[in-house]
Symmetry: C2
Subunit: 298 residues, 2 copies
């Protein structure tokens, strides 16, 4: 991106997962997970819990494999995310984020109708699927003849960043890996600093609806500790400013949670001067009202 590169004095490359099928990287992990199921398991159908992007990814992957999907979504999930999940043919079951435990709702569905549960991040096949982002970034850098000094991506449960660390380090073991989280939901940053899994106290209260996982997934956390991943925290205002920047300058539609890594860069919290930095835009499922809010406040 010439504009960002000139502003920050280095080379900034953008990985556009908002342009992925279903509008986020989640399709990669979901597709990989569903693809590993045998005929018997495919016949049983899949079940997932998600605020919206994993929901769409699983629903669309299931549709492509001819598998029935049941998705547990919070009642306050963005309407666009629910509608797009249903458009892929999935059955959506809602729960109340404040009073119900979504794992329990999913367990009840699995007990009643059977099926294979696809975890949004604590699943090696899901992490491997998200890891194709890291492999593609590595291949693109090789093709461009550049060495990425650092990569930063949004994190919720940490499956994307864990997969990316594995994929990118396979070619560029020296690349620094960073994750970005919304303020109040900085469980991953605190966990990495503490060397042990820490939980968020809040369950709501961020505009980044895609990044509200309560704690790092253990599989990805082990990978990220080994990779030396470092955490960064972004305010809602910074996330909205990044959404507006993507709209005005990059001509890309990015949701608040998908823009937090760009927000870290725009806030100057990652050194860019003289370096090559890759920033991942992880999703673009934003509604018009939220975009208008971002443009009005930026």
């Amino acid at each position: 991106v010439p504009l960002l590169s000139e502003q920050l004095g280095g080379r900034v490359l953008v990985q556009c997962e908002n342009l992925q099928r279903t509008g986020s990287f989640k399709f990669r992990g979901a597709y990989n997970a569903v693809s590993t199921l045998d005929e018997t398991d495919r016949g049983r159908g899949v079940v997932a819990v998600s605020s919206g992007n994993h929901a769409q990814g699983v629903a669309e992957a299931a549709r492509l494999f001819g598998v029935k999907a049941t998705i547990v979504m919070p009642a306050d999930a963005p309407a666009m995310k629910r509608a797009r999940t249903e458009r892929s043919g999935a059955t959506v079951v809602t729960y109340d984020r404040a009073t119900q435990d979504r794992e329990a709702v999913a367990a009840e569905i699995l007990a009643r109708q059977g099926g294979i549960f696809i975890h949004p991040y604590n699943d090696p096949y899901v992490i491997a699927g998200q890891g194709t982002v890291g492999l593609e970034v590595a291949q693109d850098c090789l093709a461009l003849g550049v060495v990425p000094n650092a990569l930063i991506a949004p994190a919720s449960g940490g499956g994307l960043i864990a997969g990316i660390a594995l994929g990118l380090h396979s070619e560029f073991p020296e690349a620094a890996i960073g994750l970005a989280e919304p303020a109040g939901f900085d469980d991953y940053t605190r966990s990495l600093a503490a060397g042990a899994i820490m939980r968020n106290e809040a369950t709501a209260g961020s505009l980044c609806d895609a990044l509200l996982a309560t704690a790092p997934g253990p599989i990805g956390f082990a990978i990220n500790r080994a990779a030396g991943t470092r955490g960064h925290v972004v305010s809602d205002a910074e996330a909205l400013a990044a959404v507006a920047f993507a709209f005005n300058e990059l001509k890309l539609v990015v949701e608040p949670g998908g823009a937090v890594a760009l927000a870290v860069l725009l806030a100057g919290r990652v050194p860019v001067a003289g370096r090559t930095v890759v920033v991942v835009l992880s999703g673009g499922n934003i509604e018009g009202d939220m975009l208008a809010r971002a443009l009005a406040t930026a």
Copy 2:
């Protein structure tokens, strides 16, 4: 684009000129034109007339070559386009679209301060620059192993579509070339049907502010006649629906004028079933208010 391909029963490829530097394809032709100037001419500076996208393209190309740019823009040009032109260091001179002739304003500036005039479309270097879109599409199709049966792109003065026809036909001489224009500004479609250059009567009254040229440029018109280019006309409502589709489904920011070729496709006016069709999104310089209007009416 899997979604469009599934909906329309063929293969739809999208060329994203909204992601080009300055947010539209216009940078290509402007850069090529400025690059051909010798040191003496570069020292004299460049002058252009434009409602906004050619303005930004010339301003940014001039900045990169260290050349002074003066741009004549209508007073009612979108504020974003003017601001982005000035950000590139150009001097903007405005005129009243209803009472003043922009060519006369430019001629007066050239007489007073000298400089090289860069026409927005009736210039072989500008057309050649836009033609790199056609070359890139051809290369991408070769890399994908697909033969494009048809390509459709927005047209105003016709420089883009003429350049594309030359570039794409160099590899795929059988590809059908189509252009899309807004209703009320269908001079190119009428001219192609008549075999002679026809003018628009209106000078304002379309949301597609980038597509208001009064008549085809003679150089491009000769190229398009030889290429067998065919015209399509799009209503403002259809253009807005395409802007909303690009936002919601493609996660791309596209301005109304940049979305008219997509609008032709969505309206079912180009056969897609069993074919490979390339659609060009030519620009993304839209303001939040216009996007909100598109989302509200779609």
